[in-house]
C-alpha cells in the first residue's frame, strides 16, 4: 500500500485513528494514521446488525412477558447466559432461571444489585427497557458518495 492510498473513510473510530503501514515515495515504510476503511467498516456494521437484531428480539420478548428484563441487558452487553454467569459469579442454571419473568419478579434485592452492577445500571433502573435498540454506530454508511 502506498502512502497516498491510505484510506480515510471515517465511520467507526470517532475522534481516533488506526495506524496503517504504507510506503512513502522512496519505497520506505512509514506509519500512516487512517480514519478507517470502508470494507472493514462494512464488516464492523454487519457485526452490529447481528447484535441489534438480538437486542430487538430481547426487547420484544420482555414486552410480551416471555423473558425478564435481564434478557434485554444481557443482549445489550453482548453476553450469553454463560458469560453473564461468569460475571455475576452465579451458576448458569440460576442465571437461566432468572431470565424467566415470574422468577425475576421474586428476585432478592442483593441479586438485583449484583446484576445491576454487572450491567452498569442502577438497580431500580433494571426494569427500564427502551422501545427499540440504541447503538453507537450508524448502520447505513455507504448510501451516498462511497465507492465500495
Amino acid at each position: 500500500m502506498k502512502h497516498e492510498d491510505v484510506p480515510q473513510d471515517k465511520a467507526i473510530l470517532g475522534q481516533w485513528h488506526e495506524i496503517c503501514y504504507a510506503l512513502d515515495p522512496d519505497g520506505c515504510y512509514v506509519l500512516a494514521p487512517s480514519a478507517g476503511w470502508d470494507p472493514s467498516n462494512v464488516a464492523n456494521l454487519q457485526a452490529w446488525e447481528v447484535i441489534v437484531e438480538e437486542v430487538a428480539w430481547a426487547i420484544e420478548a420482555v414486552r410480551v412477558g416471555e423473558a425478564s428484563p435481564l434478557a434485554f441487558h444481557m443482549a445489550r452487553c453482548q453476553m450469553d447466559a454463560g458469560l453473564l454467569s461468569s460475571y455475576t459469579q452465579l451458576a448458569r442454571w440460576r442465571v437461566k432461571r432468572h431470565l424467566r419473568p415470574e422468577v425475576y419478579r421474586r428476585l432478592k434485592p442483593e441479586l438485583r444489585e449484583r446484576y445491576a452492577r454487572v450491567f452498569g445500571v442502577a438497580a431500580e433502573k433494571l426494569d427500564c427497557i427502551p422501545a427499540k435498540p440504541e447503538f453507537p454506530v450508524v448502520l447505513d454508511v455507504d448510501e451516498e458518495g462511497r465507492n465500495l
Binding site: 500500500m1 470517532g14 488506526e18 503501514y21 519505497g27 462494512v42 464488516a43 453476553m79
Partner: protein, 332 residues
Amino acid sequence: MNIDFTHRQSAHCESGVTANLFLHHGIEMSEAMAFGIGAGLFFGYLPFVRINGLPLVTFRSAPGAIFKRVAKRLGVEVVRQKFRDPDKSMDALDLALQQQIPVGLQTGVFWLPYFPPALRFHFNAHNLVVCGREGGDYRISDPVIDEKVLCPREDLLRARFAKGALAPKGAMYYLKDVPAQIDLRPAIKAGIREVSRRMVKAPVSIIGVRGMRYLAGQLERWPQKLGPKRAGQYLGHLIRMQEEIGTGGGGFRFVYAAFLQEAANLLQQPRLAELSGELTDIGDHWREFALFAARRCKGRGEEETSYPRLASILRDCADREEKLFRALLGEV
C-alpha cells in the same frame, strides 16, 4: 504521579506495548521490529473454535507470545503476574508505578471507556501500558489510540478482570534488568526462522499456507452450506479479523514487510528488502480480497466477488507466501 513515558501509536496492541516498553528502557525498537522478533505473523483457520458462533481465523500468533519471545530472545528478565483478588492486583499496579515502572496490562476492551464504542466487543487479549496515576484515574498509553488517555480506576479494574475467552485475570507485566547494549541481529534471524517454519512447515493442515488453502476450499462451499446471509456473516468476520484496528492492514502483512525492510538494513542483506517488496504486493492482494468480500457482503459486483473468485485470491496469496517464506528460510 506520572512516569515520563513516550507514547508511540502503533498498528497492533501487543507489538506496540513491547516496543514502547523497550524504548522506555533505552532500547530503540520499532513496532515492526518487535513484531518480527516476536514472530507475530501467523495464519490459522480453526473452524471448530467458535467466536460468537463464527469460526476462528487468525493472522497473528497467540496473545502474549510476542512480548514473551522478544524478551526471551533479547535476554531480558520479565516480571509477569496474575491475580485472583482484584484489590491486590490494583495494589501491585500502584506499587510498580510508585517505583517509576511503566506496567503492561492485558485487558478486555469491552469495559474501556475511551475505546471507540463501535469496537467494544468482548475481546480479552488487548494490551496497554499504565504510566501514571492522577487521583482516581490512571494515565494510559494504549498503543492503538492516538494519544495518552485517562481511565477511571473502576473501569480499568473491570477491564483487567473481564470474563470469557482469554480472560486476563488481572495479568500485568514489566521489564526488569535490561542490558544497556543489545544486539538485535541474532534475535531477528530467530524470529524470521520461527515465522517461516510455521507458515510453510506446520504439521497440520489448518495452519500456515496450508491453512489458507483449507480456508479457500471451505469458503467456496459456504453459500451452499450456510445460505447467503450466514455466508455473508462468515465473510464479514474474515474481513474483521484481517483488517479491523490492530493489523496495520492486510492481516499484518504490511507490518511484517516493514520489519523485513528494517532487517535488511541491520543484517546488510539486500535480498530481505526484495522479499519485503514481494510481501507488500501480497498484502495488497489481501486488501483486494477484503474489498471484494465486503462488496459480496453488500450484494454488489457479480463476477469478481463470487465465492470461487474470492477463494482463488486466497489460493494466490497462499502460493505466493509459500514461495516467500521458503526464500526467507534460505536467507537466515
